[in-house]
Amino acid sequence: MPSRIVNTRAFRASYGLAFTAFLARRDEPHLRAAYELGRDAVTNELSVLDLAAAHHDALADALASADDPRAVALAAGDFLLEALSAYEMVQRGFRELHESAALERRQADLLRQLSNFLADASLALGASDSLEEMLQLVAEQARELIRAETCLVRLDLEGGRRVEAVSAAEPDTWSRLLETQMAGAVGDASLQADGERRTLNEPLTTLDGRPIGSITVSSEEFSELDAVVLVQLAQMASAAVERRRLYRNA
């Protein structure tokens, strides 16, 4: 605690000196000095209120002996803008963080919902239609979660049958995706560039890691989080398919 008081005093002194120097020469080097003071303040966790207090103390001193108080006050404003701009950067960073945290919460909720549904759906002992429906749901949810343009889910069943499900924002983009998918190997977890489009691919596997299909999303760009979400989706879908197979063979 005591060290913070010392820091505040030291800061006020530095601020006062820089402010006075600026009033004498109102040029870019002195504006830059104000900026550096603000930057140091932010880095040293000085409260923006302490900065404001330091500013007004310096301003009050300057006004006391000013020939043109209005000009001094205006100049002081320029100085303060510079000092506060580091705080502005940090504040915008917090806002961004808050938004991405909200997005992550939403994605976690969607994943939980999907997980619950898949757990139920895999128990269905009905016709193979339900498998198509399940994969279709996975494709649609994946596309929504990752905000991709297209999602292709492919499953290679025993007996050589292949089941596919596609979700596409626009109808004709999915055929491009199919072409890309056919060019690459199933189970190849990679990030490729397809002209202007990027694709993310994750394998669907059995419990012992044998590839049985894949899930591919295509979009203009993906984030690190999207790749993480896709891995989770692939694991969930794989587990659901496996459970279904075990129940049907039981």
């Binding site: 830059r32 320029d78 960073g93 963080l97």
Partner: protein, 160 residues
């Protein structure tokens, strides 16, 4: 149509950083940006130039005006031929790894500008392009047309 103005500042040290700030501020003011926006431009330039000075040692900052009616833009292109940025996403403040940071540096500059692009190649260098825009409203454009001497468009027509 106005010819875009361009200012080049070679960045090798502190004095150049200050010069780049000054040029950025001046151009912003010429383009009619507010005092606040001009400060943000100078700040963003400060952070980019600081990166060059600290991490690479040498680079260049080019400032340009863009007249794209009804908006005016200020473009800053910062180039260096350093080792490049290994992980652009994290450097921009997007990835998990950058969560611990304060928000200064490249991510800080990014948030102060309207557009921000990074191109980086290992051992070849880095190019950062950032832009700030200002929309000119009808009143301002009308005033300008009057100053230039051309008659304002007749009432009832969309003055574009």
């Amino acid at each position: 149509m106005t010819v875009p103005e361009e200012v080049r500042v070679r960045i090798t040290g502190d004095a150049d950083l200050i010069a780049a700030r000054a040029e950025g501020r001046a151009l912003a003011e010429r383009l009619g940006f507010s005092r606040t926006d001009a400060t943000l431009v100078a700040t963003a330039i400060s952070e980019i130039a600081r990166n060059i000075v600290v991490h690479v040692g040498e680079g260049e900052i080019v400032l340009r005006a863009v007249y794209d009616e009804p908006r005016h833009g200020l473009v800053v292109v910062a180039r260096d031929t350093g080792v490049g940025i290994r992980d652009v996403e994290t450097a921009l403040g997007h990835g998990y790894a950058s969560r611990g940071g304060l928000g200064l540096g490249l991510p800080g500059a990014r948030r102060l500008m309207d557009e921000f692009e990074v191109e980086s190649e290992r051992d070849k260098g880095t190019t950062i392009t950032m832009r700030k825009w200002r929309i000119r409203d009808e009143l301002e454009r009308l005033r300008e047309r009057r100053l230039r001497g051309s008659p304002p468009p007749p009432a009832g027509l969309n003055g574009r």
